[in-house]
């Protein structure tokens, strides 16, 4: 009997094979509980992976669409240099909008570090110019060269230095989520193998009797595999449901763009955990089948 036909036969009740396996209360419950726990964790790992992917996109997009020019000049030249910079930006393709931040805005930026009463006007703080880029972006290198030539005190910061590590961190988190899911699948396989192995060892006499009366290995294996696969499927379905409910009930961190804001599923993303029970069943099927055939090889 091949792997595929065995897998297909799982969905069909087989005459006589189900009843030959005695009730395996503890190991069956262990499989169900393990599958539920692993599915619950898998849903969280999936949510983490999807959230970090979204976060990477969001950070990337947000930072890619803006840039800043810092003008460090003596106070008497600052207005003129700011004017020159805005003029250059007005003529730069790919710059959708450019404006100099006023004192209140600059104060707001520094407030988290120095408090709200900072006398910005008395401090030698550079003038900041905010650039909003067009979707196509602008030639940052060309703009730098032009600024160096015409406004030496102006420095362009296109956020590349910030963006790269942030995106790299988010991508790593996303891979971590995928790695966690792979680990969960392995743990599920290991636990199912142990539970099935324990059930098979406890039922050695059953295997001997079945072989004695002419049962083929496939028949015996299917009886065990079907039982464990369905236990894993139902356990994982419950775990997935619990995981989705737990994610749904997470408090929303609405403001500030905090990390937790993105942890969860949105829209069609809620469909993503649905394959988890079926994948768990596949893992349980393969693990039990392997354990069953290994155990049967020891029975003449």
């Amino acid at each position: 009997m091949t792997l595929i036909s065995d897998a297909m036969s799982i969905t069909r009740p087989e005459r006589g094979s189900d009843g030959v396996v005695p009730p395996t209360g503890f190991t069956a419950r262990l499989t169900q509980f393990t599958a539920a726990g692993m599915a619950f964790l898998a849903v969280f790992a999936l949510a983490l992976s999807m959230a970090t992917e979204r976060l990477a996109d969001r950070w990337g997009e947000a930072l890619a669409q803006s840039a800043t020019i810092r003008i460090s000049a003596p106070s008497e030249q600052r207005a003129a240099q700011t004017e020159a910079v805005l003029e250059i930006l007005g003529a730069t393709p790919g710059v959708a909008q450019a404006r100099a931040l006023d004192a209140t805005e600059q104060q707001a930026l520094l407030a988290p570090f120095f408090g709200p009463d900072l006398p910005v006007e008395t401090l030698p703080i550079p003038q900041l110019v905010e650039i909003v880029t067009a979707p196509a972006g602008f030639d940052a290198e060309g703009l730098r060269l032009r600024l160096r030539a015409e406004v030496p005190g102006a420095v362009l910061d296109d956020h590349t230095a910030w963006r790269r590590p942030l995106i790299a961190a988010a991508e790593r988190l996303s891979w971590l989520g995928i790695g966690a899911m792979a680990l969960i699948a392995l743990m599920t396989a290991a636990m199912t193998t142990l539970a099935a192995g324990s059930a098979l060892a406890a039922n050695r006499q059953v295997l001997q009797v079945l072989r004695l009366v002419g049962a083929q290995d496939g028949f015996i294996a299917r009886a065990f595999v079907r039982r464990f696969t369905f236990r894993a499927l139902t356990g994982a379905a419950l775990g997935t449901l619990a995981g989705m409910l737990a994610i749904w009930s997470l408090p929303e961190v609405a403001t500030g763009g905090g990390f937790l804001t993105g942890l969860g599923f949105s829209g069609a993303g809620w469909l993503a955990p649905l394959p988890v029970p079926f994948l768990t069943a596949v893992v349980a099927f393969l693990a039990t089948r392997m354990a069953a055939f290994r155990a049967l090889r020891a029975i003449p």
Binding site: V209, V213, G214, P300
Partner: protein, 225 residues
């Protein structure tokens, strides 16, 4: 159907059986006797391929057993009914389901064979115990149930290891009569037994050959039986 040629078998380097030659052909009836530990059970296990000989060859239904795959051995066992001395059953299934087990593993419908199952159970005198679990059966009842299970697929060869060990004389004769009837239908029967009275009774009714295991070798029993 089953032929052992120069078969040897031993545990841990000690030879238990040596140069065993035995042919179970259609219609043959053999008794196998010998003292405890002589290797009667081992010889029966070699016949239905539960054990692999350390030398010689076992041919089963025309094919060398050493070349059979596990699934082929399983199919072969459906043609060989075995009654074990220890009557192994599935403890969670009742007597009726245990008797019907060979049908289940062969993929047969139990509904279609209902009458056959009930008839066989009634014949071995266990009709009122059909729904009892194996643990609730006496030694004799277990042996009769094991015999019923061995016969349910109407096998070509019947191997019985002390089948009357736990039953009274009346039931022993009844079981023996059944085996003789099956033998007359062309089935090959091999009974391992140390019950000399049973062997003598059988010799009066069937053309039974009596074999004795002595010092690991198989020999024809003499007129002392």
């Amino acid at each position: 159907m089953i032929e052992l040629s120069d078969v040897r078998y031993g545990y841990d380097g000690t030879a238990l059986l040596t140069d065993i030659n035995l042919a179970l052909v259609p219609g043959s009836f053999h008794f196998l006797t010998g003292p405890s530990g002589a290797g009667k059970t081992t010889l029966i296990k070699l016949c239905y391929l539960e054990l692999t000989p350390s030398g010689g060859q076992v041919m089963a239904f025309g094919r060398p057993a050493s070349r059979m795959r596990r699934d082929e051995i399983a199919m072969l066992r459906r043609r060989v009914g075995v009654v074990h001395q220890d009557c192994r059953f599935l403890d969670h299934m009742n007597l009726r389901d245990n008797v019907a087990l060979p049908l289940s593993v062969a993929g047969e419908s139990l509904t279609a064979h209902r009458a056959e199952i009930d008839e066989l159970i009634a014949w071995v005198g266990l009709a009122d115990r059909a729904h009892a679990l194996p643990a609730e059966l006496s030694g004799g009842e277990r042996q009769r149930a094991a015999l019923a299970r061995a016969l349910i697929l109407s096998p070509d060869v019947i191997l019985a290891d002390e089948p009357t060990g736990n039953v009274d004389w009346e039931m022993s004769l009844k079981l023996l009569t059944l085996l003789i009837e099956l033998n007359r239908m062309g089935k090959s029967v091999l009974i391992a037994s140390h019950d000399l009275n049973l062997i003598r009774a059988a010799k009066g009714q069937a053309n039974a050959r009596v074999l004795r295991l002595r010092a690991g070798r198989l020999e024809m029993a003499g007129a002392d039986l």
